[in-house]
Symmetry: C5
Subunit: 321 residues, 5 copies
């Protein structure tokens, strides 16, 4: 589905144009065309391929929806694939945006995602002095927008991790903790697979040999690279902390079980000693003098209570009950 198809010159919007007129505009000097597609049909992609002379393999990737962020140069055209992530109800939706950048055009293809980039276009149009950098700046603006959308996911994970940590040492929360930690680990893995290869991509857009279209906007791409590095470091910290938290959680379960075992041992002993004593006086021997004593019964109860009490005192001192 075509969303936008606009021609720009020296940072200013010239006109919404027809797809069939792209050819005319693309060849005007200091002019570039910015096209946005969403879940395009094969026909739309083929049309774009013809208009912008795109490489078959890149179009193939955009059609099939590649799952891994990457950058590829085909002659003077740069092809970048990035992931759009949505975390909903513990489920992760992985969409994708593919960007083709040439000297005179930017084509963005969005697949399987509700996240649109209209705001990017508006912001670009409102800063003509920056948009005058040409297609390279639009490329930066789109990439920056994609990366910025990873931050809320990261924040949500950090918040959840803090929630879990807040009750990791509480009794009885072990099952809940381990379930949430596992879910969090999975989401961190998804985010990392979106970010880590993109970090590599961004590293190729500043510093050393960079594609021609990104030449003038290198410092902006360094900024994006820095954001990605920050996210990447944060994810690594989250993953590392989750690992430790799962271990600690297991420790806490074992410690709790150990405490329960001790308490069980203590009470079992208290009752067992009572039962054993009562059993002895319940034997049917004919000559058991204490059975005849007037105070035999209270004495027996006393002994049982004393034995039980002594054990209780011992165990309390040991911190078992």
């Amino acid at each position: 589905m075509l969303i936008n198809c606009v021609a720009y010159q020296q940072g200013r919007k010239l006109a919404d144009i027809e797809v069939k007129d792209i050819g005319k505009w693309v060849h005007k000097p200091e002019c570039f065309v910015w096209v946005a597609l969403r879940d395009p049909t094969d026909d739309e992609l083929s049309q774009m391929q013809r208009e912008f002379d795109l490489h078959e393999l890149a179009i193939e990737d955009a059609r099939k929806g590649n799952q891994r962020p990457k950058i590829e140069e085909f002659g003077s055209t740069v092809f970048v694939a990035m992931q759009l992530l949505e975390f909903e109800h513990g489920e992760v939706q992985v969409g994708e945006v593919d960007i083709f950048v040439g000297t005179n055009f930017v084509l963005s293809v969005r697949n399987r995602s509700k996240q649109h980039f209209l705001g990017v276009r508006e912001r670009c149009e409102s800063e003509p002095e920056l948009l005058a950098h040409g297609s390279g700046f639009v490329f930066y603006a789109l990439m920056d927008a994609v990366v910025d959308r990873y931050f809320p996911l990261l924040d949500a994970m950090e918040t959840e991790l803090e929630e879990i940590e807040a009750q990791i040492f509480e009794r009885g929360a072990a099952r809940w903790n381990v379930e949430r930690l596992y879910g969090l680990k999975r989401r961190a893995t998804v985010l990392r697979h979106a970010v880590a290869p993109l970090l590599e991509v961004a590293g190729k857009l500043h510093g050393g040999r960079v594609p021609a279209v990104c030449m003038q906007t290198q410092e902006y791409f360094r900024d994006v690279h820095d954001h990605l590095a920050r996210i990447n470091t944060a994810i690594d910290a989250i993953r590392d902390t989750i690992g430790t938290a799962i271990q600690v959680n297991l420790s806490m379960v074992t410690i709790e079980e150990s405490e329960t075992t001790k308490r069980l041992a203590a009470w079992a002993a208290i009752f067992a000693v009572s039962t054993a004593l009562a059993g002895i006086w319940g034997m049917n021997f004919e000559k058991m003098p204490e059975l005849k004593w007037a105070y035999g019964y209270p004495m027996a109860l006393g002994i049982i209570a004393a034995a039980a009490g002594f054990l209780f005192w011992r165990f309390r001192k040991a911190g078992w009950v």
Copy 2:
């Protein structure tokens, strides 16, 4: 066993030829020969060595069946070994395909595998404009076919992992989970050993200095490289998740055991208190006034029931029973 031996010129099939005529065809300009062998005898391999002037060490590898994917250049000839994997009934079959590529020939040798490459030949012959790139393109087409066959294995593993994850937090599934996770880990290791060195191989076929026969098809090999990188990343994610899942599974077993211990402790206490009380009234002292009371028995039953009930209430409140 010889499967095919065909000469091509400018992307079109010229003729099925005899092995002994290979020499004639190989030296014609713009012409190349594509031979496919399956589980070849030593004689067949020696014949091929003579016809294509292959290096002794490479033939040795093809004969013995090397277990590790690799690429080697011998003069202008490129030798590539790749693994063919089949997962059947939890068992893994590792076969191998060895490819020799020269300017004027492609020789593929398949060992211990039922996977054939007839489809690759058909597809190549149906696209003469691509096949016109010569032996390098055939090399790409074979490699691409091998790599494409790893994807279903990967998908099967991801599906199985999801099945396991779906019941990792269910009670009583621990033994089954850990067995399946272990099996999955093994299969992931096998696939990784097929893919990781191949990723290295593919990296040498585009970008920097590449063998002469792959010069024109670099962008295709970059595509293969990208596919392999995707598989590799996915395997790493699976392995990482398996590690966490085994840990989590152990946690769940420990948590369950801890809960069982608590329940055991609770019921043991309830019965123990009943037994102890009954034991006391079963003692044979002569002077136990309550034994004479008319309502002694109901009172005793009441006290026992009350004690048991009180404990039950306490434990229920604590979530133990």
Copy 3:
């Protein structure tokens, strides 16, 4: 909030100057201006941007408070972000100091931290022969001060780790140990995220190609780099030790539980045998000759005591009780 704004020449303080006069001083030869801001407003930052001609992206970072240490060069200006850490009551406060260094100026911007750098200025002013190196030396002095403040944090962590280790093999300390180890791990992670990227930064300030302003003070930056490497190694050791300590702690809990289980088993057996024997003589058969014996009861008590005693002796020998 402006803290200081001073002009220096040949290592000596010339005058406290007005912000609006910065332009005049900056262009004098052999003269440089050193400005310190704290939690600056947007206006203050914009003013500085104008006075020193700073790049928009760097100012943006200083405004938003970047969370990751880094170094960036914009033309001849160097921008460095570093973290200021405070550990209070187990909580970690992460502040930041951003430094802009040009040939003729140093601008330090401190955010969200109570740590001031007045001491650095005093020390610099008291060593005019070093300060004569210019803005590069001030840059070094600030960086050195930041790094020096990491050492007490490291020492505190090492001390705490030693405290934990001192009781890791004591009974009953497991819960306390694991809580402290987890807290320590978190703090080590925070410190590592402050130090590791800074190590990278410092590596770019000596040895190979270094920014022009750091040319003369390379050996000083090598010294800072060495300090950072020392901290980094120490943190890695702490983290590694924490990992082992958590494992060991879990082992100790399991060992203790195992010992408790054995003791429980032993006492349970001793009481159970007594109860079973008493139960037998408590049966109501008419013909139980020993019940009639004069010494039946003492004999029964003797047998019970002997059985219990025998078990006790066995268990004591086995080290269970």
Copy 4:
């Protein structure tokens, strides 16, 4: 102990020569001398040092028996140390072979190992066209022989791992498994320490700048390198699998313990309820009407049986007994 000392020319054996005549032969063109020593005395080594003009440090290494494979160049002489491993009755014997290679000589020194290299000499002499490559080919042949002897060790480990895996999920095998896994891990570590540095060594003998004597036999050393890479990958897989297997084994123990705990809980409950009920009817109250009933006893037995049966049915349903 001198084993062999032979002069070769153009791939053919000329004569067994005396050690004192080495000097004469070494300087003839197209001629090289191949000496083999076993557990040499200091005198023998000193003699060799004089004859071949070897460096003091290399002789020192050969004398002391260095424990780590390495390659070192001293002028045009190459010194290589490799480990000879024997696994006997679970014990590992680490021997060593040191090889000195110059343009006109090969000296192999074997220490603390029963593995001889007579077969290598025979094979070389039977292929004069290869031996004509000179001392570099002998060097390759020896290295190849050493590496080939690692394969059976690897196979033995893989077989043992499979045996362990075959019973890792069986009950009661945990102790045996963990002992064997630990032993296997140790042997894998020994083999890895023999192979990993040798892999590095082999990497220096083909491809980039290689010692002059290995120039003509580069492709052979690449083959050795490939074998070593295969072993190394296999060892890594074994180590990784052992790690997982130890974890899984621990899981299985915990699962089994958990099942035992449940069964214990179940039977304890069944007996406890019987004992408690019997205890109640064993009380000595005067007014317990059911004691007088003709069918009181059968009823009591019935109730006890019913209670026990009910519990048994519940536990069976839950899979506990």
Copy 5:
């Protein structure tokens, strides 16, 4: 404290000289001065700084006692810091030796360690042909001596690890094992922190660009480098083995606990069934025909014994008791 101050020429000792005369000797051709200090005062260090023209930062490091091995070049002077380790009664003492090497001098400063280097001086003086290499050889001799002193520590650790391994599968040794393993891990960490950075240092003294004073003695430094690599590999193996051993130890504890639990379960069942049966015949029903039988009591004892015996037989078969 000054220990020695000697001038050498062409490998021979000329004279013990006064510190104040150093200046005279240092400037003679083919002559060098070797000074050894121990726990020097600030004054002594300042004097040395003046005599040899040392850099402030290096002197600062020697004064404060840097904790991390490193190498630094200041002009033509090389500064190396190394650690001297002593393990006493499980405690680790970390001392330090700092070496300054120039073309005409060697200054060694030893701090907080009882290990002296008199033997090194003697050995050097006894080999004038080697000492004739100048200050670079003294530098090598000192470094070699430091490294050689790490080997006994390593051996002690390996011996201790073997002792632990010898009883890792014995019952009841778990607590002792885990304590020793933890202590060993800590010592391995200390040794690794002494060795790993030194390995880096040694790597800079041979092969590529090396400091001028080490030019002639490169092969000796390669030898030191090789020793350090051997130690480093051995430490890594120890650390890896400790990790596995801790895991295995935990497994053994869990297995033992599991066996204890089973035995407990078995005996508990045997006694519980006896008690339950005895309880039934202890009930007070009037009509319990078996109570009247002449052989009721022996029959009851028989049934109890049979039930207990049957269970015992079952459990013995299952390997529980």
